[in-house]
Protein backbone atom coordinates (compact mmCIF):
# COMPACT_ATOMS: atom_id res chain seq x y z
CA UNK A 1 0.00 0.00 0.00
CA UNK A 2 1.49 3.35 -1.07
CA UNK A 3 1.39 6.21 1.41
CA UNK A 4 -0.71 9.17 0.28
CA UNK A 5 -0.09 11.18 3.42
CA UNK A 6 2.93 10.79 5.64
CA UNK A 7 3.48 12.88 8.78
CA UNK A 8 6.63 12.49 10.87
CA UNK A 9 7.18 14.29 14.20
CA UNK A 10 4.87 17.02 12.97
CA UNK A 11 4.48 20.10 15.18
CA UNK A 12 2.38 23.16 14.54
CA UNK A 13 2.29 26.17 16.84
CA UNK A 14 0.06 29.22 16.46
CA UNK A 15 1.24 32.46 17.98
CA UNK A 16 -1.71 34.26 19.55
CA UNK A 17 -2.10 37.27 21.80
CA UNK A 18 -2.20 34.88 24.77
CA UNK A 19 1.13 33.32 23.76
CA UNK A 20 1.87 30.31 21.58
CA UNK A 21 -0.76 27.59 21.18
CA UNK A 22 0.53 24.11 20.50
CA UNK A 23 -2.06 22.97 17.95
CA UNK A 24 -0.24 19.79 16.88
CA UNK A 25 2.44 17.96 18.86
CA UNK A 26 4.57 15.10 17.59
CA UNK A 27 2.05 13.82 15.09
CA UNK A 28 3.09 10.63 13.29
CA UNK A 29 0.64 9.25 10.78
CA UNK A 30 0.59 7.30 7.55
CA UNK A 31 -2.48 7.21 5.34
CA UNK A 32 -2.49 4.68 2.52
CA UNK A 33 -4.12 4.90 -0.87
CA UNK A 34 -7.84 4.22 -0.88
CA UNK A 35 -8.26 4.50 2.87
CA UNK A 36 -11.12 6.32 4.54
CA UNK A 37 -9.58 8.04 7.54
CA UNK A 38 -11.58 9.89 10.18
CA UNK A 39 -10.07 12.39 12.57
CA UNK A 40 -12.10 12.57 15.76
CA UNK A 41 -11.68 14.49 18.97
CA UNK A 42 -13.05 17.37 21.01
CA UNK A 43 -12.70 20.92 19.76
CA UNK A 44 -9.18 22.24 20.04
CA UNK A 45 -7.60 18.81 19.47
CA UNK A 46 -6.07 19.92 16.18
CA UNK A 47 -8.07 17.65 13.87
CA UNK A 48 -9.04 20.47 11.56
CA UNK A 49 -5.55 21.98 11.82
CA UNK A 50 -4.04 18.66 10.70
CA UNK A 51 -6.41 18.49 7.73
CA UNK A 52 -5.62 22.11 6.85
CA UNK A 53 -1.88 21.42 7.11
CA UNK A 54 -2.31 18.56 4.64
CA UNK A 55 -4.15 20.99 2.36
CA UNK A 56 -1.37 23.60 2.72
CA UNK A 57 -3.77 26.00 4.42
CA UNK A 58 -1.62 25.92 7.60
CA UNK A 59 2.14 25.63 7.81
CA UNK A 60 3.81 23.17 10.20
CA UNK A 61 6.43 24.57 12.59
CA UNK A 62 8.60 21.46 12.47
CA UNK A 63 8.65 17.85 11.34
CA UNK A 64 7.86 16.54 7.91
CA UNK A 65 4.59 16.21 6.04
CA UNK A 66 4.22 14.84 2.56
CA UNK A 67 1.20 14.42 0.31
CA UNK A 68 1.69 12.01 -2.60
CA UNK A 69 5.40 12.18 -1.75
CA UNK A 70 5.46 15.94 -2.30
CA UNK A 71 5.37 18.94 0.01
CA UNK A 72 1.78 20.03 0.77
CA UNK A 73 2.33 23.17 -1.32
CA UNK A 74 3.51 21.22 -4.36
CA UNK A 75 0.63 18.79 -3.88
CA UNK A 76 -1.88 21.64 -3.72
CA UNK A 77 -0.50 23.13 -6.92
CA UNK A 78 -0.60 19.69 -8.54
CA UNK A 79 -4.31 19.56 -7.61
CA UNK A 80 -3.77 16.52 -5.43
CA UNK A 81 -6.86 17.06 -3.32
CA UNK A 82 -10.39 18.38 -3.25
CA UNK A 83 -11.45 20.09 -0.04
CA UNK A 84 -14.98 20.16 1.36
CA UNK A 85 -15.59 22.78 4.03
CA UNK A 86 -18.11 22.71 6.85
CA UNK A 87 -20.33 25.16 4.96
CA UNK A 88 -21.21 24.37 1.36
CA UNK A 89 -19.99 27.84 0.35
CA UNK A 90 -21.79 27.85 -2.99
CA UNK A 91 -21.88 31.18 -4.81
CA UNK A 92 -25.48 32.43 -4.86
CA UNK A 93 -25.01 34.09 -8.26
CA UNK A 94 -24.02 30.80 -9.88
CA UNK A 95 -26.26 27.86 -10.68
CA UNK A 96 -25.41 24.45 -9.23
CA UNK A 97 -23.66 23.53 -12.49
CA UNK A 98 -21.93 26.92 -12.45
CA UNK A 99 -20.67 26.31 -8.93
CA UNK A 100 -19.33 22.85 -9.76
CA UNK A 101 -17.76 24.33 -12.87
CA UNK A 102 -15.92 27.05 -10.90
CA UNK A 103 -12.72 25.13 -10.05
CA UNK A 104 -12.66 23.76 -13.61
CA UNK A 105 -12.79 27.31 -15.00
CA UNK A 106 -9.99 28.34 -12.68
CA UNK A 107 -7.91 25.35 -13.72
CA UNK A 108 -8.44 26.10 -17.40
CA UNK A 109 -10.37 23.05 -18.59
CA UNK A 110 -11.98 23.39 -22.00
CA UNK A 111 -15.68 24.21 -22.11
CA UNK A 112 -16.59 20.78 -23.47
CA UNK A 113 -14.57 19.02 -20.80
CA UNK A 114 -16.14 21.23 -18.12
CA UNK A 115 -19.63 20.24 -19.27
CA UNK A 116 -18.73 16.57 -19.36
CA UNK A 117 -17.17 16.62 -15.87
CA UNK A 118 -19.96 18.68 -14.30
CA UNK A 119 -22.53 16.21 -15.64
CA UNK A 120 -20.49 13.25 -14.37
CA UNK A 121 -19.92 14.48 -10.79
CA UNK A 122 -23.49 15.76 -10.39
CA UNK A 123 -24.60 12.26 -11.41
CA UNK A 124 -22.19 10.86 -8.82
CA UNK A 125 -23.74 12.85 -5.95
CA UNK A 126 -27.25 12.23 -7.33
CA UNK A 127 -27.90 15.83 -8.27
CA UNK A 128 -28.44 15.22 -11.98
CA UNK A 129 -31.33 17.41 -13.12
CA UNK A 130 -30.49 20.21 -10.69
CA UNK A 131 -27.88 21.85 -12.96
CA UNK A 132 -29.89 24.98 -13.59
CA UNK A 133 -31.14 25.46 -10.02
CA UNK A 134 -29.66 28.12 -7.80
CA UNK A 135 -28.24 27.23 -4.36
CA UNK A 136 -31.12 28.82 -2.44
CA UNK A 137 -33.52 26.48 -4.24
CA UNK A 138 -31.80 23.45 -2.68
CA UNK A 139 -31.92 22.01 0.85
CA UNK A 140 -28.83 22.16 3.07
CA UNK A 141 -28.04 18.50 2.40
CA UNK A 142 -28.30 18.97 -1.35
CA UNK A 143 -26.08 22.05 -1.17
CA UNK A 144 -23.43 20.07 0.67
CA UNK A 145 -23.67 17.31 -1.97
CA UNK A 146 -23.11 19.96 -4.63
CA UNK A 147 -20.02 21.12 -2.75
CA UNK A 148 -18.74 17.52 -2.69
CA UNK A 149 -19.36 17.34 -6.45
CA UNK A 150 -17.35 20.53 -6.82
CA UNK A 151 -14.45 18.97 -4.87
CA UNK A 152 -14.62 15.85 -7.05
CA UNK A 153 -14.85 17.69 -10.37
CA UNK A 154 -11.14 17.94 -11.11
CA UNK A 155 -10.29 14.33 -10.35
CA UNK A 156 -8.09 14.71 -7.28
CA UNK A 157 -7.38 11.29 -5.77
CA UNK A 158 -7.58 12.71 -2.26
CA UNK A 159 -10.74 14.14 -0.76
CA UNK A 160 -10.37 16.19 2.44
CA UNK A 161 -13.60 16.86 4.31
CA UNK A 162 -13.84 19.15 7.34
CA UNK A 163 -17.02 18.28 9.26
CA UNK A 164 -18.96 18.43 5.99
CA UNK A 165 -22.22 17.23 7.57
CA UNK A 166 -21.79 18.99 10.92
CA UNK A 167 -24.50 21.55 10.23
CA UNK A 168 -27.09 19.03 9.02
CA UNK A 169 -29.74 17.15 10.99
CA UNK A 170 -29.16 13.52 11.86
CA UNK A 171 -31.56 11.97 9.35
CA UNK A 172 -30.00 13.86 6.43
CA UNK A 173 -26.60 13.09 7.85
CA UNK A 174 -27.24 9.33 7.91
CA UNK A 175 -28.31 9.36 4.30
CA UNK A 176 -25.34 11.44 3.21
CA UNK A 177 -22.98 9.12 5.11
CA UNK A 178 -24.42 6.16 3.25
CA UNK A 179 -24.05 7.96 -0.06
CA UNK A 180 -20.52 9.03 0.79
CA UNK A 181 -19.54 5.39 1.34
CA UNK A 182 -21.03 4.44 -2.03
CA UNK A 183 -19.19 7.31 -3.64
CA UNK A 184 -15.96 6.21 -2.01
CA UNK A 185 -16.46 2.65 -3.25
CA UNK A 186 -17.15 3.84 -6.79
CA UNK A 187 -14.33 6.36 -7.05
CA UNK A 188 -11.60 4.56 -5.04
CA UNK A 189 -10.53 7.90 -3.56
CA UNK A 190 -8.55 8.38 -0.39
CA UNK A 191 -10.67 10.35 2.07
CA UNK A 192 -9.63 12.38 5.12
CA UNK A 193 -12.72 13.19 7.18
CA UNK A 194 -12.91 15.40 10.26
CA UNK A 195 -15.83 14.77 12.61
CA UNK A 196 -16.81 14.96 16.26
CA UNK A 197 -19.40 12.22 15.96
CA UNK A 198 -18.32 8.77 17.13
CA UNK A 199 -20.97 6.80 15.16
CA UNK A 200 -20.14 8.76 12.01
CA UNK A 201 -16.42 8.06 12.38
CA UNK A 202 -16.90 4.36 13.06
CA UNK A 203 -19.49 3.90 10.33
CA UNK A 204 -17.42 5.56 7.62
CA UNK A 205 -13.80 4.78 8.34
CA UNK A 206 -11.22 2.13 7.62
CA UNK A 207 -8.93 4.01 9.99
CA UNK A 208 -9.97 6.19 12.93
CA UNK A 209 -7.49 8.70 14.30
CA UNK A 210 -8.44 9.70 17.86
CA UNK A 211 -7.03 13.04 18.96
CA UNK A 212 -6.99 15.04 22.17
CA UNK A 213 -6.38 18.69 22.99
CA UNK A 214 -3.78 20.90 24.75
CA UNK A 215 -1.48 20.09 23.07
CA UNK A 216 -3.26 18.63 20.02
CA UNK A 217 -1.98 15.09 19.55
CA UNK A 218 -2.95 11.61 18.38
CA UNK A 219 -3.89 9.31 21.24
CA UNK A 220 -5.03 6.26 19.28
CA UNK A 221 -5.17 4.98 15.71
CA UNK A 222 -7.77 2.28 15.14
CA UNK A 223 -7.78 0.12 12.02
CA UNK A 224 -11.40 -0.85 11.59
CA UNK A 225 -12.14 -4.57 11.12
CA UNK A 226 -15.54 -3.74 9.58
CA UNK A 227 -16.06 -4.85 5.97
CA UNK A 228 -15.99 -2.17 3.24
CA UNK A 229 -19.59 -2.95 2.37
CA UNK A 230 -21.58 -1.30 5.19
CA UNK A 231 -25.36 -1.12 5.42
CA UNK A 232 -26.69 1.39 7.97
CA UNK A 233 -27.74 -1.38 10.39
CA UNK A 234 -24.12 -2.43 10.79
CA UNK A 235 -24.22 0.13 13.58
CA UNK A 236 -26.09 -2.37 15.77
CA UNK A 237 -23.47 -5.15 15.43
CA UNK A 238 -21.14 -6.05 18.34
CA UNK A 239 -18.05 -5.23 16.22
CA UNK A 240 -19.34 -1.73 15.57
CA UNK A 241 -20.16 -1.19 19.25
CA UNK A 242 -16.73 -2.50 20.27
CA UNK A 243 -14.93 -0.01 17.99
CA UNK A 244 -17.15 2.84 19.16
CA UNK A 245 -16.28 1.85 22.73
CA UNK A 246 -12.56 1.95 21.97
CA UNK A 247 -12.91 5.39 20.36
CA UNK A 248 -14.78 6.62 23.43
CA UNK A 249 -12.05 5.22 25.68
CA UNK A 250 -9.42 7.00 23.59
CA UNK A 251 -11.29 10.27 23.83
CA UNK A 252 -11.68 9.86 27.60
CA UNK A 253 -7.97 9.06 28.03
CA UNK A 254 -7.13 12.31 26.30
CA UNK A 255 -9.10 14.23 28.88
CA UNK A 256 -7.22 12.94 31.93
CA UNK A 257 -4.92 15.94 32.07
CA UNK A 258 -7.82 18.42 32.09
Amino acid sequence: MTAVIEARALNLTFSTNDGPVHALKDVNLTIGKGEFVSFIGPSGCGKTTLLRAIADLEHPSSGSLTVNGMSPEAARKARAYGYVFQAAGLYPWRTIAGNVRLPLEIMGYSRAEQDERVARVLELVELAGFEKKFPWQLSGGMQQRASIARALAFDADLLLMDEPFGALDEIVRDRLNEELLKLWARTQKTIGFVTHSIPEAVYLSTKIVVMSPRPGRITDVIDSPLPRERPLDIRDTPEFIAIAHRVREGLRAGHVDD
Partner: protein, 297 residues
Amino acid sequence: MTRSLPVLTVVAVLIALWYLAVIPMNAKWEYDQASRAGREIGLSELVANTMAQERPVLPAPHQVVVELWDSTVVEELTGRRGWWRSGSLSNRSLIYHGWVTLTATMLGFVIGTGGGILLAVGIVHNRAMDASVMPWAIASQTIPIIALAPMIIVVLNSIGISGLVPKAIIAAYLSFFPVVVGMVKGLRAPDAMQMDQMKTWSAPGATVFWKLRLPMSMPYLFASLKVGIAAALVGTIVGELPVQEGGLGVRLLSGSYYGQTVQIWAALFAAAILAASLVGIVGMIERRVLRRMGLAG
Protein backbone atom coordinates in the same frame (compact mmCIF):
# COMPACT_ATOMS: atom_id res chain seq x y z
CA MET B 1 -51.31 51.63 -1.08
CA THR B 2 -50.35 50.40 2.38
CA ARG B 3 -46.86 51.68 1.71
CA SER B 4 -47.80 55.01 0.19
CA LEU B 5 -50.34 55.98 2.86
CA PRO B 6 -47.79 56.84 5.60
CA VAL B 7 -45.63 58.69 3.07
CA LEU B 8 -48.58 60.71 1.79
CA THR B 9 -49.62 61.51 5.37
CA VAL B 10 -46.17 62.89 6.18
CA VAL B 11 -46.13 64.92 2.95
CA ALA B 12 -49.59 66.35 3.74
CA VAL B 13 -48.46 67.36 7.25
CA LEU B 14 -45.31 69.00 5.87
CA ILE B 15 -47.31 70.99 3.30
CA ALA B 16 -49.76 72.10 5.98
CA LEU B 17 -46.91 73.27 8.22
CA TRP B 18 -45.35 75.04 5.24
CA TYR B 19 -48.58 76.95 4.54
CA LEU B 20 -48.85 77.89 8.23
CA ALA B 21 -45.28 79.18 8.21
CA VAL B 22 -45.88 81.29 5.11
CA ILE B 23 -48.26 83.64 6.99
CA PRO B 24 -45.90 84.95 9.73
CA MET B 25 -42.85 84.86 7.44
CA ASN B 26 -44.44 87.15 4.86
CA ALA B 27 -46.68 89.16 7.21
CA LYS B 28 -44.17 91.94 7.94
CA TRP B 29 -44.17 93.17 4.34
CA GLU B 30 -47.99 93.23 4.30
CA TYR B 31 -48.11 95.21 7.57
CA ASP B 32 -45.53 97.67 6.20
CA GLN B 33 -47.52 98.12 3.01
CA ALA B 34 -50.73 98.65 4.98
CA SER B 35 -49.22 101.17 7.39
CA ARG B 36 -47.62 103.03 4.49
CA ALA B 37 -51.03 103.27 2.90
CA GLY B 38 -52.40 104.30 6.28
CA ARG B 39 -54.91 101.53 6.70
CA GLU B 40 -55.54 98.46 8.81
CA ILE B 41 -55.25 94.96 7.35
CA GLY B 42 -57.68 92.23 8.35
CA LEU B 43 -56.69 88.65 9.05
CA SER B 44 -58.36 87.12 5.99
CA GLU B 45 -56.80 89.74 3.74
CA LEU B 46 -53.43 89.17 5.41
CA VAL B 47 -53.59 85.42 4.86
CA ALA B 48 -54.61 85.79 1.25
CA ASN B 49 -51.92 88.37 0.53
CA THR B 50 -49.07 86.42 2.16
CA MET B 51 -49.86 83.53 -0.18
CA ALA B 52 -49.56 85.65 -3.33
CA GLN B 53 -46.55 87.95 -2.93
CA GLU B 54 -44.27 88.47 -5.88
CA ARG B 55 -41.07 88.23 -3.82
CA PRO B 56 -42.09 86.49 -0.60
CA VAL B 57 -39.61 85.62 2.15
CA LEU B 58 -41.12 82.15 2.01
CA PRO B 59 -43.15 81.29 -1.10
CA ALA B 60 -46.28 79.21 -0.65
CA PRO B 61 -46.14 75.64 -2.01
CA HIS B 62 -48.57 76.36 -4.81
CA GLN B 63 -46.43 79.33 -5.95
CA VAL B 64 -43.45 76.99 -6.26
CA VAL B 65 -45.53 74.43 -8.15
CA VAL B 66 -46.81 77.11 -10.54
CA GLU B 67 -43.27 78.42 -11.08
CA LEU B 68 -42.03 74.85 -11.74
CA TRP B 69 -44.80 74.38 -14.30
CA ASP B 70 -44.27 77.80 -15.90
CA SER B 71 -40.52 77.45 -16.17
CA THR B 72 -40.68 73.97 -17.70
CA VAL B 73 -43.74 73.03 -19.75
CA VAL B 74 -45.16 76.53 -20.33
CA GLU B 75 -41.80 78.08 -21.18
CA GLU B 76 -40.86 75.35 -23.64
CA LEU B 77 -44.27 75.24 -25.34
CA THR B 78 -45.19 78.93 -25.49
CA GLY B 79 -41.99 80.90 -24.80
CA ARG B 80 -40.39 82.82 -27.66
CA ARG B 81 -37.13 80.92 -27.17
CA GLY B 82 -38.89 77.73 -26.11
CA TRP B 83 -38.38 74.38 -27.78
CA TRP B 84 -41.75 74.49 -29.56
CA ARG B 85 -40.98 77.73 -31.41
CA SER B 86 -37.18 77.76 -31.70
CA GLY B 87 -36.37 74.05 -31.86
CA SER B 88 -33.92 74.27 -28.97
CA LEU B 89 -34.43 74.37 -25.22
CA SER B 90 -34.97 77.82 -23.74
CA ASN B 91 -32.27 79.13 -21.42
CA ARG B 92 -35.09 80.39 -19.23
CA SER B 93 -36.40 76.89 -18.67
CA LEU B 94 -35.54 74.49 -15.87
CA ILE B 95 -35.50 71.66 -18.40
CA TYR B 96 -32.54 73.28 -20.14
CA HIS B 97 -30.73 74.03 -16.88
CA GLY B 98 -31.60 70.62 -15.48
CA TRP B 99 -30.12 69.01 -18.58
CA VAL B 100 -26.90 71.03 -18.25
CA THR B 101 -26.63 69.90 -14.63
CA LEU B 102 -27.53 66.30 -15.47
CA THR B 103 -24.83 65.88 -18.14
CA ALA B 104 -22.09 67.22 -15.84
CA THR B 105 -23.46 65.08 -12.98
CA MET B 106 -23.40 61.91 -15.05
CA LEU B 107 -19.89 62.54 -16.38
CA GLY B 108 -18.67 63.32 -12.85
CA PHE B 109 -20.44 60.27 -11.46
CA VAL B 110 -18.81 58.00 -14.05
CA ILE B 111 -15.35 59.49 -13.38
CA GLY B 112 -15.87 59.37 -9.61
CA THR B 113 -17.20 55.81 -9.61
CA GLY B 114 -14.43 54.57 -11.89
CA GLY B 115 -11.77 56.30 -9.84
CA GLY B 116 -13.31 55.10 -6.59
CA ILE B 117 -13.39 51.47 -7.76
CA LEU B 118 -9.78 51.66 -8.98
CA LEU B 119 -8.65 53.14 -5.65
CA ALA B 120 -10.55 50.43 -3.74
CA VAL B 121 -8.97 47.68 -5.86
CA GLY B 122 -5.56 49.20 -5.14
CA ILE B 123 -6.26 49.47 -1.41
CA VAL B 124 -7.40 45.84 -1.19
CA HIS B 125 -4.52 44.42 -3.25
CA ASN B 126 -1.60 46.66 -2.29
CA ARG B 127 -0.32 46.94 1.26
CA ALA B 128 1.28 50.35 0.70
CA MET B 129 -1.95 51.77 -0.73
CA ASP B 130 -3.93 50.17 2.09
CA ALA B 131 -1.81 52.07 4.61
CA SER B 132 -1.64 55.39 2.76
CA VAL B 133 -4.67 56.14 0.60
CA MET B 134 -7.58 56.15 3.05
CA PRO B 135 -6.36 59.05 5.27
CA TRP B 136 -5.97 61.21 2.16
CA ALA B 137 -9.37 60.22 0.86
CA ILE B 138 -10.90 61.20 4.20
CA ALA B 139 -8.90 64.46 4.30
CA SER B 140 -10.13 65.31 0.81
CA GLN B 141 -13.71 65.24 2.05
CA THR B 142 -13.05 67.55 5.00
CA ILE B 143 -12.20 70.47 2.69
CA PRO B 144 -15.38 72.51 2.04
CA ILE B 145 -16.21 71.95 -1.62
CA ILE B 146 -17.54 75.50 -1.90
CA ALA B 147 -13.97 76.72 -1.23
CA LEU B 148 -12.31 74.21 -3.49
CA ALA B 149 -14.63 74.46 -6.50
CA PRO B 150 -13.56 77.95 -7.71
CA MET B 151 -9.90 76.92 -7.48
CA ILE B 152 -10.46 73.80 -9.57
CA ILE B 153 -12.29 75.90 -12.16
CA VAL B 154 -9.59 78.61 -12.25
CA VAL B 155 -6.73 76.10 -12.49
CA LEU B 156 -8.42 74.07 -15.23
CA ASN B 157 -9.43 77.22 -17.09
CA SER B 158 -5.81 78.42 -17.12
CA ILE B 159 -4.81 75.25 -18.95
CA GLY B 160 -7.65 75.67 -21.40
CA ILE B 161 -10.23 73.31 -19.91
CA SER B 162 -13.63 74.86 -19.32
CA GLY B 163 -17.30 74.05 -19.67
CA LEU B 164 -18.50 70.57 -18.77
CA VAL B 165 -15.26 68.99 -17.55
CA PRO B 166 -14.43 71.23 -14.55
CA LYS B 167 -17.95 70.77 -13.18
CA ALA B 168 -17.72 67.02 -13.73
CA ILE B 169 -14.41 66.90 -11.88
CA ILE B 170 -15.94 68.68 -8.89
CA ALA B 171 -18.81 66.20 -9.04
CA ALA B 172 -16.32 63.32 -9.24
CA TYR B 173 -14.43 64.76 -6.26
CA LEU B 174 -17.52 64.35 -4.10
CA SER B 175 -18.78 61.05 -5.54
CA PHE B 176 -15.58 58.98 -5.49
CA PHE B 177 -15.42 58.88 -1.70
CA PRO B 178 -18.51 56.79 -0.88
CA VAL B 179 -17.52 54.42 -3.68
CA VAL B 180 -14.02 53.93 -2.23
CA VAL B 181 -15.35 53.29 1.26
CA GLY B 182 -18.08 50.93 0.05
CA MET B 183 -15.94 49.01 -2.41
CA VAL B 184 -13.08 48.47 0.05
CA LYS B 185 -15.61 46.88 2.38
CA GLY B 186 -17.25 45.00 -0.47
CA LEU B 187 -14.05 43.60 -1.96
CA ARG B 188 -13.15 42.36 1.52
CA ALA B 189 -16.57 40.78 2.03
CA PRO B 190 -15.48 37.19 1.15
CA ASP B 191 -14.91 35.32 4.41
CA ALA B 192 -11.86 33.29 5.43
CA MET B 193 -13.46 30.05 4.23
CA GLN B 194 -14.15 31.42 0.76
CA MET B 195 -10.59 32.69 0.50
CA ASP B 196 -9.24 29.30 1.71
CA GLN B 197 -11.41 27.56 -0.86
CA MET B 198 -9.87 29.67 -3.62
CA LYS B 199 -6.45 28.76 -2.27
CA THR B 200 -7.23 25.04 -2.42
CA TRP B 201 -7.78 25.56 -6.15
CA SER B 202 -4.52 27.57 -6.32
CA ALA B 203 -6.49 30.42 -7.87
CA PRO B 204 -4.38 33.46 -8.84
CA GLY B 205 -5.26 36.88 -7.41
CA ALA B 206 -6.91 38.10 -10.60
CA THR B 207 -9.23 35.09 -10.62
CA VAL B 208 -10.15 35.62 -6.97
CA PHE B 209 -10.96 39.23 -7.86
CA TRP B 210 -13.16 38.53 -10.88
CA LYS B 211 -14.90 35.39 -9.66
CA LEU B 212 -15.29 36.08 -5.94
CA ARG B 213 -14.40 39.58 -4.70
CA LEU B 214 -16.13 41.60 -7.40
CA PRO B 215 -19.46 39.69 -7.37
CA MET B 216 -19.46 39.73 -3.55
CA SER B 217 -18.97 43.51 -3.54
CA MET B 218 -22.07 44.30 -5.61
CA PRO B 219 -24.44 45.07 -2.69
CA TYR B 220 -21.80 47.44 -1.26
CA LEU B 221 -21.19 49.02 -4.66
CA PHE B 222 -24.85 49.84 -5.21
CA ALA B 223 -25.25 51.29 -1.71
CA SER B 224 -22.27 53.54 -2.49
CA LEU B 225 -23.57 54.47 -5.94
CA LYS B 226 -26.79 55.80 -4.45
CA VAL B 227 -24.85 58.12 -2.14
CA GLY B 228 -22.32 58.90 -4.87
CA ILE B 229 -24.80 59.99 -7.53
CA ALA B 230 -26.54 62.38 -5.12
CA ALA B 231 -23.12 63.75 -4.10
CA ALA B 232 -22.21 64.20 -7.78
CA LEU B 233 -25.32 66.33 -8.28
CA VAL B 234 -24.41 68.52 -5.31
CA GLY B 235 -20.86 68.87 -6.64
CA THR B 236 -22.11 69.88 -10.08
CA ILE B 237 -24.42 72.54 -8.67
CA VAL B 238 -21.60 73.96 -6.53
CA GLY B 239 -19.36 73.92 -9.61
CA GLU B 240 -21.97 75.87 -11.56
CA LEU B 241 -22.13 78.73 -9.08
CA PRO B 242 -18.90 80.51 -10.10
CA VAL B 243 -19.12 79.66 -13.82
CA GLN B 244 -22.54 81.06 -14.75
CA GLU B 245 -22.83 79.01 -17.93
CA GLY B 246 -26.16 77.43 -17.23
CA GLY B 247 -27.36 74.72 -14.87
CA LEU B 248 -29.54 74.57 -11.79
CA GLY B 249 -26.72 76.19 -9.77
CA VAL B 250 -26.96 79.25 -12.00
CA ARG B 251 -30.71 79.45 -11.49
CA LEU B 252 -30.21 79.26 -7.73
CA LEU B 253 -27.61 82.02 -7.72
CA SER B 254 -29.38 84.38 -10.16
CA GLY B 255 -32.57 83.88 -8.19
CA SER B 256 -30.82 85.06 -5.05
CA TYR B 257 -29.19 88.02 -6.88
CA TYR B 258 -32.56 89.36 -7.94
CA GLY B 259 -34.51 88.33 -4.86
CA GLN B 260 -36.55 85.86 -6.91
CA THR B 261 -37.34 83.54 -4.02
CA VAL B 262 -39.95 81.64 -6.00
CA GLN B 263 -37.36 80.95 -8.69
CA ILE B 264 -34.86 79.74 -6.07
CA TRP B 265 -37.36 77.37 -4.58
CA ALA B 266 -38.39 76.08 -7.98
CA ALA B 267 -34.74 75.43 -8.85
CA LEU B 268 -34.24 73.73 -5.48
CA PHE B 269 -37.18 71.46 -6.13
CA ALA B 270 -35.97 70.73 -9.64
CA ALA B 271 -32.61 69.69 -8.15
CA ALA B 272 -34.35 67.56 -5.53
CA ILE B 273 -36.56 65.88 -8.13
CA LEU B 274 -33.51 65.23 -10.30
CA ALA B 275 -31.57 63.74 -7.35
CA ALA B 276 -34.51 61.58 -6.31
CA SER B 277 -34.92 60.30 -9.87
CA LEU B 278 -31.21 59.46 -10.20
CA VAL B 279 -31.13 57.66 -6.84
CA GLY B 280 -34.37 55.91 -7.82
CA ILE B 281 -32.89 54.70 -11.11
CA VAL B 282 -29.76 53.38 -9.35
CA GLY B 283 -32.03 51.69 -6.80
CA MET B 284 -34.04 50.04 -9.57
CA ILE B 285 -30.90 48.69 -11.25
CA GLU B 286 -29.69 47.56 -7.83
CA ARG B 287 -32.84 45.53 -7.15
CA ARG B 288 -32.69 43.88 -10.58
CA VAL B 289 -29.00 43.01 -10.41
CA LEU B 290 -28.98 41.78 -6.81
CA ARG B 291 -32.11 39.69 -7.26
CA ARG B 292 -30.55 38.14 -10.33
CA MET B 293 -27.35 37.42 -8.41
CA GLY B 294 -29.21 35.92 -5.46
CA LEU B 295 -27.73 38.61 -3.22
CA ALA B 296 -30.92 40.55 -2.50
CA GLY B 297 -31.43 40.46 1.22
